[in-house]
Subunit: 190 residues, 2 copies
Amino acid sequence: MRDVLESIPEDVLTIADAKRGDIGNSASFYARSVFHDLGYDSVTVSPYMGRDSVEPFLGNVGTCAFVLARTSNPGGNDLQLLPVGEQALFEYTAELAVSWAEDQTGETGLVVGASDIDSLARLRERMPSVPFLVPGVGAQGGSGVDVMRAAGSGPLLVNSSRAILYASDGPDYASAAASVAKTTRQSLGS
Amino acid sequence: MRDVLESIPEDVLTIADAKRGDIGNSASFYARSVFHDLGYDSVTVSPYMGRDSVEPFLGNVGTCAFVLARTSNPGGNDLQLLPVGEQALFEYTAELAVSWAEDQTGETGLVVGASDIDSLARLRERMPSVPFLVPGVGAQGGSGVDVMRAAGSGPLLVNSSRAILYASDGPDYASAAASVAKTTRQSLGS
């Protein structure tokens, strides 16, 4: 894994999409491993176990922890859309995670999938300056244009993995991947 | 890690306390890694991403997936106690996870911490035959006697890690660990 990381140019942001979520003691070791031992720039973190499972990832200067809020997979609907008072669980979770970050020195972001554009737009309206990591463009069917319209007014990191990685399993895999990457980028208007 | 696993006698149940929770595609690879490559008997899984993130862990004959329901850490209260209709989120989650398991060939259990004995008792009442993995006895302050009273009528796996592992950092670490393990065992009435 270190070899892969070292082959990535310095100016490219790396994301440890590890979806960590454990008791504080374990979370501290995970955070150290991700940011210090492996040197990632950011990480994804699961909120189900609450504050002490997320906090160790928030205090690392120059890094970002993206907390899962509204995920783009089919099962994302199972818990995240549950009504909690006047809002959905994912909105409650997003607000809570951002409140944990208040006195922290690292950047805190949210994972908000492209497959539910309405939720993405609603969260952006409530949180104009929180960085969103947006999966679900590409293999999971989300559109880059829709994402930009819903949330492009704030900081956004749109991720497409499988659509690019598996663009072709033939000898043209590199050019096929490059081509899908370019098209995706264009759909984001950049 | 393989060396550690291989040194554990065959008749001792192993738990990959990995708290996995990712999209179906990644979950399938994680399940294969945990059960086939590493040969663990069981695993812990986080429910926030819903059914397709948990299901790949449920279909492995002779293994058990413990889904996080009510965790014993302080942050466990942050989301898990939220009211969802008439019940708390952890109860809703527990019911849902057990329903996902219906047509599956592996065993499905729940993580229910010892730090909230009332919740443990309530879940046991609703689910008399679901295996519970119970952390929080020992370092996190839960009592073995209380756990047995609340949930001992059904299948139970009580876990104490740090209280045993870190019983002493002196040269007597092995005997100190053995002593704490024995006391813990006695408190469980076995």
